[in-house]
Symmetry: C2
Subunit: 389 residues, 2 copies
C-alpha cells in the first residue's frame, strides 16, 4: 500500500487505487467522448477505475449527464468543491482532492497530451502519474453503435459524390478547363456542393480534397481554382457524422476528358496496389506489411519513390492507411516501429497513392471493417477511374 | 545566465532566452492558429522569442508553411531530427534539443493545457518552465483581419435567420405545435436549414440552439422535437467562418402565436437589461460590473435568481457575456475574480437571460466591438420579440 502525501493529509492508510484519468471536453478530446458517450462543450474530469466509469459534471450539465452519459457514476462538481466564493481557484483544488479521496485513488494513468498544469499541481501534491501512449486501446475495437455511425457517414457521402460527378459530366471543356453554367468549375465550388449536401445529411466536412493537375500531385493540397480538364482529379472525402461523431473516409478518381497515358498508368498501378492491400486485410496481419506489399507492387510497376532536386517528395510517400473512428486518423496505424497487428473490430483505410509533378496524383481509398476472418468494405462506389467525355 | 543541463550537454555557456511555447494543431489549439495564421491538421511546435515567431514544419507542410504562415521563420523538422530510422522515438527528442539549441532557449512559458508528456520530458532534461494562464493575452485585441472574419460570420447568420422566421410565419398552429408542409416543425428541422444555409455561406455551425417551451428555460438544451406554439423560442446562433475560423454569436427571440403575459414580462426585462449592458460597453469598464448592473435590473424587475427544490437553477444564472474570436468563449470574461477591464479591440457578447420552468426562457445577445470610446454592434437584426400570428 502506497502512502499518499500532502493531497490526502488524513488518508495515509486509505485503500489506494489506480485510475485512467482524462480532463477534457468532448469537442477536443475524443477519449472522453468515447469513454462517456457524452457530448459537452466544456472540459470535465473522467476516470476509469478497473472498468468503473466515473465522470464529474458541473451544475449546468449534471442533469443531462445523469440521463445521457454512459458511465457508472456522475459526481456533481458542486458536491466536491469548496463553496467559499472568496477562494479564487480553490474549486479545482478542492475538486480533485475530494474526488480522489472519495474513490481512494492515488495513481493516475494519463496520456502524454494530459494538461501539464493539472499534472504539475497533482504531482506536487503526492499523486503518482504513469504515462501511456494510448489510454484507451479498446477504442480501436469498434462495436455495432460505432459501425452504424461510420456507415451513416459513408452512406451520406456515397449519395452525394455522384452529384459532383454529374456536374462534371454535364459540363464542357474550354481552354483546358471545365465550363458549367456560365463559369469555370472550381475545387471550391465542388467542395461547397459536397459539404452543403453532407450537412443536409447530418454530417460535417472540413478540408474535403478536390484537386486536379499538379495540385493532385501534392497530397496535402485540398485543391483551389479551376479544375483542369484531361488530368486526374482526386476526390478525398471524409465526412463526420453529427449523430455520434464518427468519421468515414473514401477517395475516388475522376477526369473530365481523357487523361494522358502516363496518368492512366499511374491510376492503374494504384488501383492494383489497393486491391492487393484490401486482399491482405484480416486479423493477425501486420498493417505495415500491407504497406510494404503495396509499395513493392508500385515499385515493380516502375514507380519510384524519392525526392526531387528541390527536396520535394514524389512516388508513394505516405502511409497505406490508418484507423478511423472518433478521430479521422487513429489507431491502428501502419507505422514501421509500432505494433500494428490487425484485430477483429478494427476500422481502417487502405489508400495507396502515387504523386508526380507533371503527371498528376492518384489515390484510391476505402474504409474497411476487419471481421473475424477478413474484412467488409464500407464503400459501395466502384473505384474505376471515371473518365467523363 | 542560467545553466542548461542534460538537454544541452555542450552548451553550458550559450546565450539563453525565454520563449512562449506551444505544441498543437491549428484545429484543436487556437493559440497556434492565432500565432501562425497557418491551418494544419497535425500538431507542430511554435515559439515566440520576444516577438520573433518561429514554427517547425514537417516535410509535407514545409513548402506551404513557408508561403502561408505569418511567422518570421519556418524551420524544417527534418533539419532538426535524427535521420537514423532505427531510433524509434529519437526524432522528437532530437527535434526539441536542436530547436532550443539553435535559438539558445532554456526557459519555456506555456499554458496549463500544454501536453504533460512533453513537459515532463523537457523538464527532466533541464528546460525551465513557467506557466501562464493566457499565453497570448494579445489575442483579446482584434485587428481588421479578425474583425472582417467575424463580420463575415455575422452577415451570413443574419441572411439566414429570416428564413427560419419565414418558415414559422408560413406555418399554422395545430394542437399547440407548429404545422408546416405536412408535418410538425421541430428544432432539428430548423437547425438543419440554418446549418446548411450557413455552410453555403462558408460557415460551420455546431449545436445551434433552437429551443421552445421549457427547453428554452434550460440554457444548455439545444432543443429537440416539435416547436411549441405560444412559447418563447430562443434562437442562439453562433456560426464559425471557414475563411479565417472566427466565430460570431447572436441570440434572438421568436414565438409562434402570442406568448403568456408572464413570458412577455420575462422577455421585456431581458430586453431592458441587454440595452443597459450594451450602453455600458466601453474601454475601462469592468466586464463584471456590466454583469452586476444587468443582474440588478432583472432583480429590480422582480426576477429572482436561485435554485428550486431539485437543486436546478432559475433566474439569471449565467454570465452576462464573453469574448469572441477563434474560440466562441474566450478572453475577456465577465468573471468575478479576474481582471476584466474592457479594452479597445475587444470583441464581446452581451447576453442577459432569464429562465423559469413553466414560463420559459429569454435571452438576447449581440456581439460587440469595443472601440476607443464606446462600441459597435456587429448585429443589424432588430431584437424585438418576433411574435408571429
Amino acid at each position: 500500500m502506497r502512502l499518499i502525501h500532502s493531497l490526502f493529509k488524513n488518508k495515509e492508510d486509505a485503500f489506494v487505487a489506480k485510475a485512467r484519468f482524462v480532463v477534457g471536453s468532448s469537442i477536443k478530446n475524443e477519449d472522453i467522448l468515447w469513454a462517456t458517450k457524452f457530448f459537452a462543450p466544456d472540459s470535465f474530469p473522467f476516470m476509469d477505475i478497473e472498468g468503473k466509469k466515473i465522470m464529474v459534471a458541473n451544475a449546468l450539465e449534471y442533469g443531462r449527464a445523469k440521463k445521457e452519459a454512459k458511465v457508472d457514476e456522475v459526481v456533481s462538481a458542486e458536491e466536491l468543491t469548496e463553496q467559499d466564493e472568496n477562494l479564487p481557484d480553490s474549486e479545482k483544488k478542492g475538486l480533485y482532492r475530494r474526488l480522489f479521496e472519495k474513490y481512494g485513488v492515488d495513481t493516475l494513468i494519463v496520456q502524454p497530451d494530459f494538461p501539464a498544469g493539472i499534472y504539475k499541481f497533482l504531482s506536487e501534491n503526492g499523486i503518482i502519474f504513469e504515462f501511456k501512449t494510448q489510454l484507451f486501446p479498446e477504442r480501436e475495437i469498434k462495436d455495432a453503435y460505432e459501425i452504424a455511425d461510420i456507415a451513416h457517414a459513408q452512406r451520406a457521402m456515397e449519395e452525394v459524390f455522384p452529384m459532383l460527378v454529374k456536374i462534371l459530366a454535364d459540363a464542357d471543356i474550354h481552354d483546358g478547363k471545365v465550363w458549367y453554367d456560365g463559369g469555370y468549375v472550381t475545387s471550391e465550388m465542388l467542395r461547397l456542393v459536397f459539404d452543403t449536401e453532407l450537412m443536409q445529411r447530418d454530417c460535417v466536412c472540413e478540408a474535403t480534397i478536390i484537386a486536379s493537375g499538379d495540385q493532385a500531385a501534392d497530397p496535402h493540397s485540398i485543391g483551389t481554382g479551376p479544375i483542369l480538364a484531361n488530368t486526374l482529379i482526386v476526390f478525398d472525402m471524409f465526412p463526420r457524422s453529427r449523430k455520434k461523431w464518427y468519421w468515414s473516409d473514401m477517395t475516388r478518381m475522376v477526369s473530365k476528358g481523357k487523361v494522358s497515358p502516363e496518368a492512366r498508368k499511374l491510376y492503374e498501378a494504384v488501383y492494383e496496389a489497393q486491391l492487393i492491400g484490401i486482399d491482405m486485410v484480416e486479423p493477425g496481419v501486420n498493417f505495415h506489411d500491407i504497406h510494404k506489399s503495396a509499395a513493392k507492387h508500385l515499385e515493380t510497376r516502375g514507380f519510384k519513390t524519392g525526392r526531387d532536386e528541390n527536396g520535394d517528395p514524389f512516388g508513394f510517400f505516405h502511409s497505406i492507411g490508418h484507423g478511423v473512428g472518433l478521430e479521422i486518423h487513429e489507431m491502428p496505424f501502419a507505422r514501421k516501429n509500432q505494433s500494428n497487428i490487425l484485430k477483429p473490430g478494427n476500422v481502417i483505410t487502405i489508400e495507396p497513392g502515387l504523386y508526380y509533378k507533371g503527371i498528376g496524383g492518384a489515390r484510391i481509398e476505402d474504409t474497411l471493417f476487419v471481421t473475424d476472418n477478413g474484412n467488409i468494405n464500407f464503400a459501395k462506389t466502384p473505384k474505376e477511374l471515371i473518365e467523363l467525355p
